[in-house]
């Protein structure tokens, strides 16, 4: 069976799970105060950032520091719970498919869920920009290349983090701990981001990318570069290691006992 069919099967398993709502609601909660407080964007002379740029960047800062990582954690819980309640995992393991493939298929579904949330983010951005524009009588709407570029880079930067969360969820079977550790690693990402070894901590990549973009757009905020070296190699290695470990571990406990 090829991976694509497996992904489709995994996608079916979370049918009727209402996960879409959990992904959408925070996006709406995020943008409503942004629209109401749109006038704040005009008071950014100290930073030297254009109001429309600030509007976009602030929204993505809000998403990437907390909700996007947290959504990934929730996604891992969902994928694991559907399998473990009713012992579905035992059935899956008794079918002629490789556990590693199963694990990869689930990981891809996790990435698909994240993609859905990111697309919703972009759509909501345009709706809110339009609303803010008419409220403040000033065009907040930016071109698709700026918006999609930022959204795309945040998404790509989150993949290593998703791999880490997936590994945690697969390896730590006690739900309190897998969720707790997942969420707890998000909190210090703001601190780690400002250190020299930020590239070793995937949980801060997305936030770092947005912050870097903000510094680039703001005239008086100085430089905050995301150097591709050693970041990209580190990210690739972390991702591969995490996926290898989780593919190796999925279903191990069931097969043992």
């Amino acid at each position: 069976m090829n991976l694509l069919t497996m992904v489709d099967i995994e996608r079916r398993k979370i049918h009727r799970s209402k996960i879409i709502w959990i992904l959408m609601i925070p996006i709406v909660i995020l943008w409503i105060p942004m629209i109401i407080n749109a006038d704040v964007n005009f008071n950014m002379q100290a930073e030297g950032i254009l109001p429309e740029d600030n509007f976009l960047v602030q929204g993505f800062l809000g998403l990437s520091w907390f909700m996007f990582p947290a959504s990934l954690v929730i996604g891992t819980v969902l994928l694991n719970q559907t399998e473990r309640s009713g012992n579905g995992i035992l059935k899956m393991l008794s079918l002629p498919i490789s556990p590693a493939k199963l694990c990869m298929a689930k990981f891809i579904v996790l990435l698909l869920l994240a993609a859905v949330q990111m697309i919703a983010m972009v759509v909501c951005y345009y709706l809110s920009a339009a609303a803010a524009s008419s409220l403040e009588d000033y065009s907040f709407t930016l071109g698709p290349s700026d918006v999609l570029g930022l959204a795309g880079s945040v998404y790509l930067a989150s993949i290593p983090m998703a791999a880490v969360f997936w590994m945690i969820a697969v390896c730590i079977r006690t739900p309190v701990f897998s969720v707790g550790i997942g969420l707890a690693t998000i909190v210090p990402s703001v601190l780690v981001m400002n250190t020299k070894v930020w590239f070793a901590y995937p949980m801060c990549y997305a936030f770092r990318v947005v912050t870097g973009q903000m510094h680039k757009l703001a005239a008086h905020m100085g430089d905050f570069p995301c150097d591709l070296l050693p970041w990209i190699p580190a990210a690739v290695i972390i991702t591969l290691v995490c996926l290898a470990v989780s593919c190796n571990q999925l279903g191990k406990a069931e097969r043992r006992g």
Partner: protein, 240 residues
Amino acid sequence: MSVSLEYGKLKRTGFYPAFVGGGLLAAAIPIANTALRQDVFTSVKESPFVVLMDANWQMMAMLNVFMIVIGACIVYHIEYADNALQKMEALPAKGESMFFSKCFVLAAASVFMIALETAALAFCVRCWFSPPEDFAAQLFSSMGFATALSVPAVILMMGISSACRNMWISLGIGVIGIFATVVIPPGSLILSMFPFTLPFQTFSGAGEGEAGELLLGALVEMAVFCAAELVYLRIRRNVQ
């Protein structure tokens, strides 16, 4: 008696170790922060306690609320996972008393976390500052305030997880609640009454008058959430 039962049900779920771990982590924040940035902190004129709270409480409160959300999810997850709730409903015990006992266990666990944090703050002041005379009073009133303001979140989260058969839904709702506190712009009294935002407020930050209003708000929320749960339990019994 019911409380001790609920306490026993949580064995081997990782609930208690998680709260100990979370409490130690939260307690480590002010200690690490002060140890690393001693000069910045000690040079400020304000009361040492206020300085410490301003610098650390946001992150500590975040951990506290995280633990409340995760704890509440687990407490009802064990009821639903192997259908134990059905057995409980077929026994001559009240669903209401089970709910309140569970709330008590979760509230006690978060009080334990806050106690660890209090000890850490006291340790910081003793080590790096010269404690003012009314320090003990400040410390305890402030941490008591924090405890009181976490109770609405405890009851609300417990209500949510009692209604969700699937743990990840209650987790999702809880996380969205926490996220809302991150997005809500600070400053407005009404918005800081949001149950997940309340635990982030500090006694010194609120000032005398506002502190009273926040406490009153918390009290009203507790009453409302309890009443809502009672109604919910009654409806659930009737539509099953």
